[in-house]
């Protein structure tokens, strides 16, 4: 009895506002735009904390921290507004999966709202109290420390959600957010995300402080533009190397269900492009005067990010494909049944003609492997009809949980998602069609 159960909810009986063909790519683009600013928000906060800490000994670093903190105002606001679009699109495209994951992690999910609000207030407080708390650095750093701690926690909630929504077979087993957090893959993905945040922010800093129009000489006593560049390039370089270790762990801990050649190709392409980018990071690091390779690096890494986002999206698409089909079938059946019940309630007479069409269902679900009297992947209907003569229920039971009978054939996949009544109709059709 205790076999894993995958819930198949029924979808809302309303059409999508546009074809999934357009909405899926729109989701990828919207998500990338959002995550870039989230990366900048998290990465900058971390760097500001580190720089300000160092600034207690070296005032130049305090100035650097302050200059970087100023950019947070814009980045954090954009991270939030740009998050709304992917939220809308995913709610429309993956309604049942997404809302299920939300509900199962509900406390943490709704906690994001006060959590992020407090974080933002602390970031403002930190930014606008820089002068006033000049002599109370501990307090000043403490304010930022709380914000950073929150910023480190918040992405975990999002990750847990998008992870959980991808695995319907886990839904009935999960008990609350902390439980969902322990699903494999959440932690590696989280580290990968933090790494990306640091790389992206470092490159942003190279551009921001390294640009010719930035008044380095006015702001800093000692730090020079090449020094700044080298510093941020080295952060980007070291963390990028770490990403080459974390990345494979992410891939390996992903349940294999959503992995196919396309997903692997997309991720592979991303990695392949990142290699020359890291090489150029190294070159820039040892020769910070140069600056020639900056746009090449950014260009390559942009494509890497896009490829990773595509791979990530495609993984979800593939992993959920069967589930979404099952949901669609269940929804269609529900609507028919609901309509029939309405008619019955109105007229007192059960609706006719609503019985499932065995032949059509057989064609769509089984005919890929079974034919009337020739062997395809599985045995022909003539053989099946002999085994199950007068026993359609036996076929249903088999199809829901097939065993292993014939040594010369591969195992048959379980077809429980087709639904009992549909399987029953199919079984009756099979027996009829296979009868001698």
């Amino acid at each position: 009895m205790m076999m894993m159960m995958t819930p198949i909810p029924r979808d809302l009986p309303l059409p999508l506002p546009a074809s999934a063909f357009y909405l899926e790519p729109l989701l990828v683009v919207a998500f990338v735009a959002h995550i870039v600013f989230v990366n900048l928000l998290v990465g900058s906060s971390l760097l500001v904390f580190g720089l300000e800490l160092r600034g207690r000994k070296d005032r130049d670093f305090d100035r650097l921290a302050r200059a970087l903190a100023t950019t947070l105002t814009v980045n954090k606001s954009l991270a939030v507004v740009l998050g709304v679009a992917p939220l809308l699109i995913i709610s429309v495209l993956y309604t049942m999966q997404f809302y299920t994951a939300n509900a199962l992690t509900g406390t943490a999910w709704i906690g994001l709202i006060p959590g992020i609000t407090v974080t933002f207030v602390l970031l403002y407080l930190h930014k606008y109290s820089w002068d006033r708390l000049q002599d109370a650095k501990g307090t000043h750093l403490g304010i930022l420390g709380i914000a950073v701690a929150l910023l480190l926690f918040i992405p975990l909630v999002f990750l847990t959600n998008v992870n959980l929504m991808t695995f319907p077979d886990r839904w009935t087993a999960v008990r609350g957010f902390l439980d969902a957090l322990t699903l494999p893959n959440v932690l590696p993905r989280y580290l990968h995300f933090l790494g990306a945040s640091l790389v992206l922010t470092s490159l942003f800093c190279v551009a921001w402080f390294g640009r010719a129009s930035y008044p380095v000489e006015e702001v800093f006593e000692r730090l020079t533009r090449p020094q700044l560049r080298r510093m941020f390039y080295s952060v980007a370089f070291v963390v990028s190397l770490a990403q080459f270790v974390i990345g494979p762990v992410v891939l390996l801990t992903l349940p294999s269900r959503g992995i196919n050649a396309v997903v692997l190709a997309e991720i592979g392409a991303g990695v392949a492009l990142a290699i020359p980018a890291v090489w150029m990071l190294w070159k820039e690091m040892v020769d910070p005067e140069s600056g020639r390779r900056f746009f090449k690096i950014v260009g390559l890494l942009t494509v890497t990010v896009l490829m990773m986002a595509l791979g990530r999206h495609n993984y979800r698409y593939v992993a959920l494909r069967e589930h979404r089909r099952a949901v669609a079938r269940e929804t269609a059946a529900w609507q028919l049944a609901s309509e029939a019940a309405r008619v019955q309630a109105r007229t007192g007479v059960p609706a006719a003609g609503a019985a499932p069409d065995g032949a059509a269902l057989f064609a769509s679900s089984c005919s890929g492997c079974h034919a009337k009297d020739t062997r395809l992947v599985g045995p022909p209907l003539t053989e099946i009809a002999q085994v199950y003569q007068g026993n359609p229920a036996g076929i249903v039971a088999w199809a829901k949980a097939p065993g292993k009978k014939r040594a010369d054939m591969p195992p048959m996949p379980a077809m429980a998602a087709v639904g009992d009544a549909n399987l029953r109709a199919i079984a009756e059709y099979m027996l009829k069609a296979g009868a001698p």
Binding site: M5, L12, V84, T100, N102, G419, D420, N422
Partner: protein, 470 residues
Amino acid sequence: MDLPIFHLDFLNNRMLIAIIAVTHVLINHAMAVGGIPLVAYLERRGMLDPDRGWDALAFRILTVFFVTTTTLGALTGVGIWFSAGLVNPIAIGSLLRVFFWTWFTEWLVFVTEVALILLYYLTWKRWRGPRKRAHVKLGFGLALASWATMALIVSILSFMMDPGSWHGDRTLFSGMFNPLYLPQLAFRTPLAMVMAGAAGLIITRASTRQDLALRHAATRAIGRWMLAWLPFTVAGGIWYAQGVPEGMRALLPVAMVTQNLTQWAGMATTAMWAAAGMIAAVALWAAVRPAGLRRWAVVLPALATIALIGTFERVREFVRKPYAIAGYLYSNGLRPDDYPLLQRDGLLATATYAQVRELTPDNQVDAGREVFMLACTRCHTVDGINGVRVALSRLYAGQRWDPAVIDRYLGVMHQARSFMPPFPGSLAERKALATYLAWLQAHPESLEGAQVSGVPTLPRPITASSARPL
């Protein structure tokens, strides 16, 4: 039914949405829709009359608005999505399917709005002298974007109350231009301006301790500003109240107060007029004798607008009942269309998540609890806000709660209390629910939502297709 049920048994799920949504509306109306035009207006006075400190005051007001809207304001906006997705996912999901492109457009305007407010705020000190004129223009452009965001959202809010011809053709256009759209917009726009004035009065008071001349001039200007918008607010409010569809209007008196005390409705209406009158009085005082305006009087309009908007949103939410989307979806997340099937085959047998599938004499209480979860928790808790135990105690004061009596009540609950949808399940389930409710008299308990207990589930015995009659 088809989603795990998030449930807060103390706070009440609707209260969660209400707190987040009202906070958002307050901030959005007072500090963006009304706030930005007010700041731009004050900035413009500063441009025409550079020596009196108008500019610094306008910037201080903007700072408060900016910090608040980009933290609490923005996050409560997102929070409405989050909370609605948890509490009534079927309703918000359905609205999203219909209004996707409205929301998407709104989002584009919203991005523009955020970009502009960042630009407006961060360039205030830099765009000086000859560039000041452009900066003021930027302010008015931003005001337009804020208003457009609200204008799009209002179409969805008013749709939920009266979908108009959408029932027939189900297109985006007919959904948007529903009968209540313009009245709501006509009411909210001037109300937002008044609210901004109320906030502006307080900030002015708090930030002009050194400069009384400026304080008086600004107080007078803001008082006039509020007086100018008040008549439109009242007119818009009357138009709106008349547009509320007939059936809903019958509920209005119930909605305005704790439902039981219908007789308070008259008082609530009076109180709303009194609030409007008080705002008018303080605004007049500020406009005519700004120097004499007392500190306690300064905060009155803000408190009054908070009360007004809170009541208004509550009424708006409540008059929709028993529907989440009038005629299409009940507040319990079930479609009237599916009722015949649900009542015939039962909620427990058809739900995606349930631990009890078949009713037996031994599992009545457990089954009843699950039915309660499925049918009642979108509005009720067991013992918290709008708790069913309190409701039952009131109904059967001093008596033993009798399952048979409760069962009969459940059969007519939608007639007894027209804001409740009819009982959605089978007769056997109704009996189990009645047994559970009666059991509660001696066994107070608190229900855990799926966010805590997960969704331990037995396989669905009847798939939709086999539920079909043969």
